[in-house]
Symmetry: D3
Subunit: 281 residues, 6 copies
């Protein structure tokens, strides 16, 4: 059987992650490679970086699907004198295409935050934190109920076990003995969602890249008027659970059309923090 | 001897932290209180929050000097139905003035990053990372040399011991055995300084609120072309060392004019993260 | 009977003057005071100024309701070294709350221009000059018919008697013997309404703060193609008639819920002009 | 002797009122007419309106010099169906040119506010309120000293006698018995100058088109920290004194070159307010 | 029979070319002249320039109707020292009105591109290239089918014969032997339409003012993925065919109301290029 | 002798065409390729298009230097499904680097317009039409004197012979018998330079991509007040003369450092217009 063209793989990906769902400022779709080239092996990763490129070359991948764009803002050069340009040269010379599903995967159903919600232990139905105006089943973030209430301490232990390991785990703001049931999550940087009503109404909000001022102001106003505990995880770790979900969705969708591809989920940790330090006492 | 008016205290503070040095978007100076009111006791803190207000009331402070503005963006209300408005009511009813030195303290000489540099073990001369155009001795961040080179692991152990304790300590990106000598630091959120030449040229850069994308892109391009290790500390912890420095500077300046005030540095931890979680294995 | 909480008074005010009706640039609602504090005495005034604050303290008011915002543009300080900050300190120290209903009161039904229209002698039905898109009974300005036509001279005499006295009364542009029947009015500065069709179609337009260029251009084009006479009154005088209307509306609304409050309308003239001068001949 | 070309008259006018001095948003210079046409009779007026056009036709003027632009904002039509277009047609058909000196005459030395200052009784040296960066003898507004101090009441009587009569004279904010010596003036709308240090430092500021909010806020902060009385005059009346000054300057400048022209200053009152009304009591 | 007022002519013109259809940045309608003046003779031209003004004076026209605005951007002067101002003076002194129908004539049905389509040989039904949202029969450009396919060489020969002659004729990008049937046209500058799907889907696109970069990029992407040939004609020549169409439409519309006017189409060539040069070999 | 690295070639190019001289909106420098790769053969061309890429592959070029950027506006993809992306893939797979010198070559001394000026017959000294503020010998466009005056007809014949042949040659606006001596030129699109004093003062201005409105308005005002004839040439033809100049400058600069490279100037015509059409008569 002749191999499948990249364009057919893309069509299947976009049936799950429609590029029209991406934010106006986002840059999704094919970054390099030829729509007509054959594709047999597909690697999934969060970040398009040199280590992931090396993994693709070593494995003989024809396509890398990443969550993060290589060039979120437009570039006028792909010269090999920079990390990103060097990756473009490596990929083109090795006939490896690069494809991105970013904010269109965030708002998809199922999407990035569904996978995150399942990873931290939510089993029942999920609703978007910020439903898309054109289809309320899609949207940013997810909120759902734990099967039974538990303490914040127990929830964070369960969450850290469900996420891929990073050197620093989770940071938590809230009374460990507080009982939580309604859990809001959002993969990736979550500062901008702190103002949502569905976040305010939850018992705990787990997300990434929370900074001092938004978090502290949120907690101050929460201390005053009620509000959820916060859990900060590694950006990479909150998006990684989407990779096996997306790989499975693609492979099964293609299989239904009689197309077989080999998929693989990269285990390369691209969280920047490689160690931690703390006082001994 | 009659007590000193708040206006005289402010004049002394502004001889060290000239409001004209603040960024155009910043909001520094007197937030509430009457310039004519007497001041005997002054509390220093990073954040103007309820716990700090309570500490001031309990101690009988006449003035709180904070690093962070209460209202960075303008407000049209101080009604007591919000955390910030409630603090304004508490302060005015208790005759406690509130004064902010923020980006003018950041760029002062000595300023916020001088105190941070000393806290993490830099003993020799310091230069700004981004010198002010009108006076190159002032500016954002500081860079200097360790007395003798050490491994990154040893430097981070030294740094975490020098800073006030938070639940999560430091996060480090870099090979622990790498030898470092030139150290760049910047109190508070440091994402926006990653592009500076003086940061690129250092062996390690310690700052706060580093997020996934700026850090990862910085490290990728550094891995490609050389570049420093990164250390992420709590925003609050990187600015706290300035408090005793500022208190001492104010007290000694006033004493030289025959004015005696009582100063106190708040030990309230306003970093949001109260616990952490990590897998056991 | 226990006193009523400020929050209940606000709820009643907002049933007449919904904050959602205010212009996006406006700043309405509670400026200082605690929603939980008890309210027995309410003072109504056009401007939140020191004299009005003094009147409130002397009378023992718990709440001042003003038409004009204290801080239309956001402030980062309420320090007592400025007129506005000093008023905030006075109010908070005396437990007097301050609440503003501005452009939401302008467009309400009944609202500021209804009261003005009645004050200058319009007895019949009134329509907005610029109906609100979502409810055409609300909107800026009002237009209606005099019961019987009269000369412009007679109309202005009637109007000046119906408005609170200022040192300079009314300024009129138009032939005194012109007969007028359709009268357009708008409380406060009316320059920006001169282009409305409903103003052009009236026989006379009474408003405030009319400046040379807009007025003269309006009259020139009117002289050319027909158009109304103009009457310029004091900004304060055109908005004052709303105060008794609002006080009555609030008191009766609360009474219907079994809540009794004492209301008072300030007679302090806050028009800036305290005298006039004219040649003797 | 052959008549003088319009271009020569313009050259003389621009030696006093350089178009380069005008604000970037202003529109000064020749509005209609041919630079080559002969000019014998020149009419000066504040506003380019139909009544002034009629006066020019009746007198046989070849040129009208006005202070206010006909089209401050650009027009794409001069069709005769509007007041302004009709004036253009009248002027072109009658070979009457129209020339404007506006903000370049405001900042000239001598300029509009010099004439105003003399009209209200200032006899000594005058300084701009807002000196031009490139020549501090020029600039907006003027400030000077009265020969001897007098009460505000006496000053306003003197001022109203010195200005051309309007129906409403002057409006005054300030204690009539206050003694004034330093007088600031600015022809035309003066709201935007209230923040100038030279205005704050004067005993009285006379200008035009003062509205409620800027005036009231100015007086409030003045009541708090000291500040001048305000006098509001008709926009037209504050600029009219410049007309004879400009006519004389032009005629004498041309005479020095052996050119004789006939000049005339229009007495048409273009203040919009034709009557006033006040309560009888 | 008394002559017809200009306002009646305008009303008839605007029944075909509604000013509301013009782009927001456009300037259409009456430029000079009096709506009440009588009109017997009407000259149609593409450009309002001196030669056309001279033609109107010589013929005794009362009105010129042009496609291009005299002042597309607003002017603050019509002084006779510039080409445009001199034309305004000539027209007003000779009682000749000037009226413009520009982008409202472009999108009309029939409009500028209908006339162009007919001139280059399209006989069947036409559709807009960019239909107006409010009425899809109107819109920019037109596309239609040739009665029978022909080579690009034959089409361009047919087109150049159908358009008024200029010194340089047509410039063509495409293989001369390519067979074309679907023809897209747009009168005036067509760079901005190259991205339209209806242009991409045609066999040839004829328009004006095509520049190197948009044309070359369009042809590159077309060479890659298929796309039309391009034909560049003189801007003036592509809009001239509308003149007789508009003259006929106006005259017949007026005749139906019993009004007789004399119309004339100017043959003045206002394309800038008066000669060409080419190597002899 | 080992081959030279691309980085050394770039350093030599940038000694003539400093990237800092480019406009802020421009995109110059290395587009693809590795600074460390060896370079022996260098192809110069105006446009980075497929035909030029094919020429480079066929000749075995290591580097293409073009005048026009491939991506003037940033791109987020170089996928091979577009003309530009396909070129990137071809170049990277064939180890051919692409380098652009655009507005930095326009303003260089010598630069694009020097070569153009020589090509059309200017032999003496040349000055920029718009001198660079930091070095007046550099700048956009050039102006100089012909050795002896000649008619416009003779000048255009001379110019068309000096430029590379296109299908349509030159278009000329001006009286053929007009005598010209001062000649202004600017390579590439010249609309935006029509307002320059040095253009107005010339006898003829030769440039490219002149459109109807700017040209016609320029000629109208010139007809009124004097002004140059205009000559419109192909954008590509006006910039091509720079290619041999740049190739020679680079080769001689490298030779002086003992580096030998082979250069070649592409003769591929990238003007879009492949044929013309004109009426026979």
């Amino acid at each position: 059987m002749s191999p499948t063209a990249l364009s057919a793989i893309i069509a299947e990906l976009e049936s799950s992650y429609d590029p029209a769902w991406a934010e106006p400022w986002d840059a999704v779709g094919l970054v390099c490679g030829d729509p007509a080239q054959p594709v047999r092996k597909i690697l999934f990763a969060v970040d398009p970086v040199a280590a992931v490129g090396g993994e693709a070359v070593a494995w003989g991948a024809d396509l890398i699907v990443t969550h993060h764009p290589l060039y979120l803002r437009g570039t006028t050069t792909v010269a090999a004198g920079t990390a990103k340009g060097a990756l473009v040269h490596t990929l083109i010379k090795n006939d490896i295409a690069l494809y991105t599903a970013h904010t269109n995967a965030d708002v998809a159903d199922p999407g990035v935050s569904d996978a995150l919600a399942r990873a931290v232990g939510l089993a029942g139905p999920l609703r978007p934190l910020q439903p898309s105006p054109d289809d309320p089943r899609r949207g940013l973030g997810r909120v759902g109920e734990l099967e039974s209430p538990m303490t914040l301490r127990d929830f964070t232990r369960q969450a850290v076990r469900g996420l891929p390991r990073t050197t620093w785990g989770l940071r938590v703001a809230g009374e460990p003995t507080r009982v939580v049931r309604t859990v809001a999550v959002s993969g990736g940087a979550g500062d901008s969602l702190l103002g949502l009503g569905a976040v305010r109404a939850a018992d705990v909000f787990l997300t990434a890249d929370l900074r001092h001022h938004p978090s502290a102001e949120f907690l101050q106003s929460g201390a005053f008027g009620g509000g959820p505990a916060l859990v900060d995880a590694a950006h990479w770790a909150t998006e990684w659970p989407w990779l096996p979900q997306a790989a499975e969705l693609l492979a099964s969708g293609l299989a239904a059309k009689g197309i077989n591809v080999e998929t693989r989920v990269s285990r390369t940790v691209t969280d920047p923090w490689t160690t931690t330090a703390q006082c001994e006492d």
